[in-house]
């Protein structure tokens, strides 16, 4: 049981940092720009497809990843310039409608371009396989790499937000958008940057996951829902909140999925236990969210307004 707990703990953390990469962009876009972006999950999918396509061209996943990230950024910038820019002065309902439509278009777009069959990518030799972590239990090297990369990005974001001028503007923007604009900052350029960076982080997360889950249309939809849960728990606009909440959601979801059925199995048939456990496990996240919001209505790390 200890072995399983360690493995599942690692799995939870790895899932958590992945959620953080997607949530970081979403929380800034929502917090700083006040835009609800339902197409954020689709940008995760776009990143995955870009990595798969570039890996196919370059013949090497790491090269594919390196090429996919700037293109995901460029894609975000173009999207902001073409569509999102027109939504800043609109109501949330309009934003939801447009970005939802965007999500459908992107899902259908990749289907037209790449077909509906999942596209997979081979891992580089150095990152494939597994290493022993505890006794006879092994853990995939690549998942450790995802964990490391996610933590690295989190550290980089923390430094940028707390130590640079851009970060200061972001924090100010999340607190009081009008004032930042009044003080002479080009708010449109700031928004363009935030949206592009958000798209890039989501794309990076998708690109890193291709060797594990392969690129498929609609793959971003489930991620999007979880990401919204993360940013609500963490406090909208707070990167630190997104980080803590993402790890929390990742751990609760993974441990709940694994140990829920095990605990229930002593009470009922395996398929029933599995079913009940699995119905309960996704609910755990929402129960967690409800509990946290009951105590802290603005999330764990609310942004001062």
């Amino acid at each position: 049981m200890t072995n399983l707990l360690i493995l599942q703990g690692l799995n939870g953390l790895q899932f958590g940092v992945l959620l953080f990469l997607v949530a970081a962009g979403l929380t800034l876009i929502f917090g700083v720009m006040d835009v609800i972006n339902l197409a954020h999950g689709a940008q995760y999918m776009v990143g995955a497809y870009l990595a798969a396509a570039f890996t196919g061209l370059a013949g090497n996943f790491l090269l594919g990843l390196v090429l996919a990230v700037p293109v995901a950024l460029a894609f975000g910038l173009v999207l902001e310039w073409l569509v999102i820019r027109r939504l800043y002065d609109r109501s949330h309902l309009d934003q939801v409608l447009v970005t939802f439509g965007l999500m459908l278009m992107l899902n259908e777009g990749v289907r037209i371009l790449w077909g509906s069959a999942p596209i997979s990518v081979d891992l580089p030799e150095a990152l494939s396989g597994s290493i022993p972590v505890w006794g006879t239990l092994r853990y995939p090297v690549y998942r450790l790499a995802i964990l490391g990369a996610g933590l690295g990005v989190a550290l980089g974001l923390w430094w940028m937000i707390h130590r640079t001028r851009l970060g200061m503007l972001l924090r100010a923007g999340a607190s009081n958008r009008a004032m930042v604009s009044a003080l002479g900052t080009d708010i449109n350029r700031l928004f363009l940057l935030v949206f592009g960076a958000g798209a890039m982080l989501a794309g990076f997360a998708g690109a890193m996951m291709v060797p594990v889950i392969s690129a498929e249309p609609d793959m971003g939809d489930t991620v999007l829902i979880l990401t919204f849960v993360v940013i609500v728990i963490g406090g909208i606009g707070s990167i630190r909140g997104a980080f803590v909440a993402a790890l929390l959601v990742g751990l609760v979801d993974t441990l709940g999925r694994s140990f829920g059925p095990i605990l229930l199995r002593s009470l009922m048939e395996p398929d029933m236990a599995s079913q009940t456990g699995r119905t309960l496990a996704p609910m755990l996240i929402y129960i967690l969210m409800a509990a946290i919001l009951a105590v802290r209505p603005a999330g764990l790390f609310p942004v001062q307004r």
């Binding site: 072995n3 399983l4 493995l7 599942q8 799995n11 790895q14 899932f15 289907r111 077909g115 509906s116 069959a117 999942p118 596209i119 997979s120 081979d122 891992l123 494939s128 396989g129 597994s130 006879t136 239990l137 092994r138 853990y139 995939p140 690549y142 998942r143 996951m209 060797p211 594990v212 889950i213 392969s214 498929e216 249309p217 609609d218 793959m219 489930t222 993974t254 999925r257 694994s258 059925p261 395996p270 398929d271 599995s274 079913q275 699995r278």
Partner: protein, 387 residues
């Protein structure tokens, strides 16, 4: 969204001279899943059927054919509406479809009640094999449990403890039930995962912790792609991997080397050594540039079965009883070799265990390891009142 494609033999430019009125031809509805991630299966089925039709010059049993391809979107409610359209607007005589059991269950009743014959290129749900067997329904594939029974029988002598995993829906439970029917060893554990899950890290950790002698998986389509790759990445490949519909020609282009050596079970493989099959595989690969899967082979057989039956009744589609008897006779040359129908209109045919291998041309396919069951009668046939 409506996706209706008409492929008429007339447009194929084969017959440009005087023609009998189309009313004298045969109208066939081809209902497959052609959207969503499951579309790869439906595309195989559609292409297999159209390839056979092309080989026959667009004719079935000497009659001009009109084929209406429709997408069931893997939604039973959508499928029922499309089926109704096929009957009412297109007045089809036969429907070849569907790809998934839930769709099959939804369309078979309404279609057969309207006097239409239904030929299944893939699903063989237990509900249509036993007490609910249907005179106008023919499974050109197999009964759903059979591939699992084959693998269960094969693994029995090889692994004392097996870990089972399947998605949490009816077919997932049916497949594991089929496996357990013939497997004599101990079930280490059984897991049911949601159909939309992509990351199986938690399940793989549980498999590693249980350390079974073998794993048996029914993880169809995209689920299988991710599961097999992650299985390999987690370093579990030392545990023998047995499955059905998890490593096949639909998933192998994505799984590639990760699936090599993994086992499956079924009634057909691309390397099945019959002359008919060699010709089919060569023609399919030449036309579509990919290795055919069982879905294509079954649909291809369905076209030739239909051809033989229409020829036997002299093109008189109005005589349903004669047409039914002619279909039941299965007087055609199947890619699977010996093929006949049992009393419940499900096939009597041989079953094999297969293993994934890389071919000399770099493509991947399943290859037959050994014949495990010879012409088994499915577990439900005895309950069928048809004689």
């Amino acid at each position: 969204m409506k996706r209706i494609t008409r492929i008429s033999a007339l447009t194929a430019g084969l017959v440009l001279t005087a023609l009998p009125a189309l009313a004298e031809g045969v109208k066939v509805g081809v209902m497959m899943t052609l959207s969503g991630s499951a579309a790869v299966l439906g595309e195989q089925g559609r292409d297999g059927f159209l390839l056979a039709l092309e080989e026959m010059g667009g004719k079935l049993g000497g009659l001009e054919s009109e084929v209406i391809v429709v997408d069931d979107e893997l939604k039973p409610d959508v499928a029922v509406n499309r089926a109704r359209e096929l009957v009412e607007s297109h007045k089809v005589d036969v429907v070849v479809g569907a790809m998934y059991s839930n769709v099959q269950m939804a369309i078979t009743g309404p279609l057969t009640e309207a006097g239409v014959f239904v030929l299944s290129p893939n699903p063989g749900p237990s509900a249509l094999a036993g007490a609910g067997c249907n005179p106008n329904f023919f499974a050109v594939s197999y009964q759903n449990d059979q591939p699992d029974e084959v693998v269960g029988a094969y693994v029995s002598g090889k692994a004392a403890r097996t870990f089972l995993i399947a998605p949490n829906y009816q077919a997932g439970k049916d497949h594991l039930t089929g496996f357990k029917r013939t497997y004599t060893g101990e079930v280490a554990d059984e897991l049911y995962v949601p159909l939309d899950q992509m990351d199986y890290s938690a399940e793989l950790a549980q498999i590693a912790a249980a350390a079974p002698d073998a794993v048996y998986a029914f993880m169809p389509g995209g689920l299988g792609v991710n599961f097999v790759r992650q299985y390999r990445q987690a370093g579990l490949e030392t545990i023998p991997f047995y499955s059905t519909f998890t490593v096949d020609e639909v998933t192998l282009p994505a799984q590639k080397k990760d699936a090599v050596g993994f086992h499956s079970g079924g009634d057909w493989a691309p390397d099945l050594d019959t002359e008919r099959n060699r010709a089919f595989v060569a023609a399919f690969e030449a036309k579509y540039d990919r290795v055919p899967a069982s879905y294509a082979a079954h649909a291809y057989d369905a076209a030739y079965l239909l051809d033989s039956a229409i020829r036997a009744v002299g093109g008189n589609l109005a005589d349903k009883d004669a047409l039914r008897a002619a279909l039941k006779a299965a007087d055609f040359d199947s890619v699977r070799g010996e093929f006949s129908f049992g009393a419940n209109h499900f096939p009597l045919q041989d079953f094999y265990v297969t293993r994934v291998a890389e071919r000399a041309d770099g493509k991947f396919q399943t290859q037959i390891v050994e014949k495990v069951l010879e012409k088994p009668v499915d577990a439900y046939a005895a309950e069928c009142p048809m004689k």
